[in-house]
Amino acid sequence: MIENTPVLNAEDKAYYPPGGLLIWIIVFLEFITFSAGIMVFLSFRQGDIELFNESQQMLNSTFGMVNTIVLITSGLLMATALGVLKSGNNKKAVFYISLTVLFGLVFLILKGFEYNEKMAMGLGFGYNQFFMFYWLLTGFHFIHVLVGVLLLTYMRYKTKSGFYSGSNYEDVETVGVFWHMCDLIWIFLFPIIYLLH
């Protein structure tokens, strides 16, 4: 006798967050990790506020602001991509996922320019405590955005091939949650690293 695979009914499903339980465990672990890093950054800052404020002046906060708008825009595009995919319009979904990837790449390129500028000025990881945290926290976030771009590129390919559709979109939704997580982390990382003085 073949056992039936347990299937979630609508009532059970209502308790699951968008994208599924597993991605939200990851999201909260990431939030906690970045928060812990920020709290350590702030406690070191308390020890030498002058050094941290002087070092912060060496950052280009305009880069950070533009990158915030770039990520916010990519979040809007991702939400739109998922909406049109759910409605069964694969062609439009591919278009919006492509735009999301494009904005993700713009973020990475701008960050690359910023990192290059810092390296040229000799402001590397070991320059002082502020820059140690700057490279750790923004670098870790950079890796997440890079992973997000790769995952979205794969979702774009599979959506274009028709694998994902209006009746099979859960994986795209999960990757969407990961992408929004990158956005959300940047939302609290940017003002603390670049603007707090």
């Binding site: 209502a14 967050p17 968008p18 702030l42 609290f188 603390i192 603007l195």
Partner: protein
Amino acid sequence: MKRANVILWIVLVLLTLLTFYSSEDIFSGTKLVLVLMSIVIIKFLGIGFQYVELKDAAPVWKVLFTGFILVFAVLVLVFT
């Protein structure tokens, strides 16, 4: 594009500009931390509830998500 999503995008961009300029000239010290964290909370919840669609999720997820950013903001105030 959903109208609510576009309106939220406009609000988020305006809040980002406000964050940027308020730290340039207008505020400093504890007042700046309060302004920055208030804007972070609004943006965080806006993205979470609207773009991630947590508004349609079970209350427990809304509470966890909101609770996280509130605790984070309080901790930032404590550590600065």
